[in-house]
């Protein structure tokens, strides 16, 4: 379980960093190759970065699907809890379990639909336009991400039923900033 947690975290951090660096390099490359320096310009233009935009999009789509699963575990998905917060503790607990179950159900259904979809695409020769990689590799993010997310919902629900504890994302918390006081 620890291993899965770490894998998830490393994956999304890596995807985020890679996408940022790739886009940055593509921008610098285009900018530099705009200068008319004999030899250098031809060399720069010969470096093909037309795949950068497509790869960035795919990396972020993967990051979004797995990051959403991580978000369940860290309680980052916002909901409308105005009404629920006014209920009695016992009723509130029921609603929390219901909404976690709904999350697991939805992501489970999407995972299954996604799996069928990927299976269908895998039977074809569809490739991405720029990198020309098989499209089903790309679409694999949907079933994998959604199933992981479904699992995370169930995991959170299980922990909640047993201990009454929910992961809560504190939007106001910034490590190391509280102690800084200027005067």
């Amino acid at each position: 379980m620890k291993l899965l947690d770490h894998l998830e975290e490393y994956l999304i951090a890596l995807l985020m960093a890679t996408a940022t660096i790739i886009t940055f390099i593509a921008v610098v490359h285009r900018y530099m190759s705009g200068f008319n320096i004999p030899g250098v310009q031809d060399f720069l233009i010969s470096l093909n970065t037309s795949w950068a935009q497509e790869l960035t999009i795919y990396l972020f789509v993967w990051m979004a699907k797995f990051g959403a699963a991580y978000g369940v575990r860290s309680g980052i998905h916002v909901g409308v809890d105005v009404l629920v917060n006014r209920l009695s503790e016992a009723n509130k607990k029921r609603f929390v379990v219901i909404s976690l179950g709904a999350g697991a159900l939805f992501t489970g259904i999407i995972g299954t639909l996604g799996a069928y979809f990927v299976y269908g695409i895998a039977q074809t020769d569809q490739t991405s336009p720029d990198m020309e990689i098989p499209m089903w590799w790309v679409y694999l993010a949907i079933p994998l991400g959604s199933y992981l997310m479904s699992f995370r919902f169930l995991q959170v629900a299980w922990i909640f039923i047993r201990s009454g504890e929910l992961p809560k994302h504190d939007h106001a918390h910034v490590e190391g900033l509280e102690d800084e006081v200027t005067a």
């Binding site: 285009r30 190759s33 705009g34 008319n36 310009q41 031809d42 233009i45 093909n48 037309s50 935009q53 497509e54 269908g120 695409i121 074809t124 020769d125 569809q126 490739t127 991405s128 336009p129 720029d130 020309e132 499209m135």
Partner: protein
Amino acid sequence: QNPIVIKFSHVVANDTPKGKAAERFKELAEKGTKGRVKVELYPNSTLYKDKEELEALQLGAVQMLAPSLAKFGPLGVKEFEVFDLPYIFQNRDVLHRVTEGPVGAGLLAKLEPKGITGLGFWDNGFKVMSSNVPMRLPSDLKGKKLRIQSSKVLDAQMRALGANPQVMAFSEVYQALQTGVVDGTENPPSNLYTQKMHEVQKHVTVTNHGYLGYAVIVNKKFWDGLPADIRTELNKAMKSATQYANAIAQIENDNALDAVKKSGKTTVYQLTDKERADWVKALMPVQKDMEGRIGKDLIQSVHKEAAALGLK
């Protein structure tokens, strides 16, 4: 008895040549089948966007589309990239000999294993170059950043000019041309004009170097399941709509080029024969380079159609 519904989705506005042709097809099809078929039009990507419509068609979520020919390469039918090759069609007559003859039929047949039946080709038109520098010779574009659609052929084409091809999302193009993120691009005149790109481009050169067109396609399972007499009527309607589509596309492009000239914002330059020969010379090697991808035989069969018209 309920009519058979054909959902026809496309990504452009109703008042474009493609939109008008789709409306004409709807009219003819509904009349020809005496109301046994109802065609529902979904313009402007209201239902499915550019990137997803082909998959939606294969899933059967829509029955009819008219995607640009560049969309079929990623689907696994690289032969369609022949349409992107620079200077592959000397003129419209050659083009229509291909799209309406055996070569075109052979291409459409390649879609069948993908669950797609092709009904015909609709023109948009031949492309012109636009940029903020005057372009008489190919060397004028050396080192310039030129926006292209995702395409290996178009990438090779711009590189053959010594330019730096940039794949860029369509929605970002206008502003990128305006601020100078890219220096220029290629479009048929009607697209250039309707997207107002001439407002942010100082020069247009009528190179007619490449072609932009569409294929009208239907979901194969749906099509094969239609009664034979209905298919005959729909084919008839399509044939007539195609003639209409190609005629208005030509007019639309001519008018657009005039309007660009009249706007005074852009200089439109017509190449002399000698200059055109230079462009052809610079871009012809692309046809050779792409033989491996697209197929030597296919490229030659297009050349044969040109030869049949007495062109070399």
